[in-house]
Symmetry: C2
Subunit: 183 residues, 2 copies
Amino acid sequence: MRKDFGGKPFMYPQPVLIIGTYNEDGTANAMNAAWGGICGADRIIIDLSMHKTTENILREKAFTVHMADVKHETEADYLGLVSGNKVPDKLTKAGFHTTASAHVHAPIIEELPLALECELVHQTEEGIVGKIVNVSIDESVLDENGKLDPDRLEAIAFDPMNAAYLRVGGKVGNAFSDGKKLM
Amino acid sequence: MRKDFGGKPFMYPQPVLIIGTYNEDGTANAMNAAWGGICGADRIIIDLSMHKTTENILREKAFTVHMADVKHETEADYLGLVSGNKVPDKLTKAGFHTTASAHVHAPIIEELPLALECELVHQTEEGIVGKIVNVSIDESVLDENGKLDPDRLEAIAFDPMNAAYLRVGGKVGNAFSDGKKLM
């Protein structure tokens, strides 16, 4: 028996994306976004509404996208609660440190091990579209073969129905492979 | 120490979306997509490239989006490996059964407990944009308060770097709340 819930954004999982940008004065800003996704081999779309981050992206033509993780769940939530207009030093208050991306004019948050460095492609009705020009991953979350280990990354997902964060990890199976059993 | 990986779609988590559509002859089709996300309070975008599913959506102006789960990981992977053009009865081969959505002209896969029923809004450079007109959830994954329980849903995520599927679940914290500790 199924129940109807109306038109709601109940996709699972949704990412918890920490978007890094530079303010007009060169200081770093960051916010938390769950609406967005990959839309091409090197493209990402993020629906941000009108935030300081949107202004920054349109001016600087660049942004970074970090994955929030279990270790920084409180800090990631904080970045979504507080406006960069009201608390200009919110990144510092969250205990984060930044370095400049070598590829785009946007900050990388050192404490978050996975960052997508993006150039602005355009702004559409659905959101800001970025071209991912580089992915930067801290060695602490790479395995012996130099590949990202999701169980070391410990990314979190947003649970839109319960306003909660969920754990992502624990391999269930192999993509483009397990389904062959049914062929 | 961070390492560079170039321009890759390495977002974590990425969803595993099973897109349901009707073929021209009224039979049901489904495919597996990981590129896409929420882009508004009742909007979803999905990058599908040119597939039978895209043809079906543009003709029927509707589609459903189901969340792949641990229980049907093999079946979900199979739907992504096999083209509906070559195997018209791939849904049956996967052991899935469908019923017509009461809200849009698209099939609901009975075995998958969470489905978004969508009307086509438009097709953009980034993908197909749908308006979610209803969310249909099977009671088996609802908790005592009638809310979705992610640990019963057991949605899976796509791991793009390792071509694997990951588990999603296990509450880590509260959104719009935990961050207040830092305010």
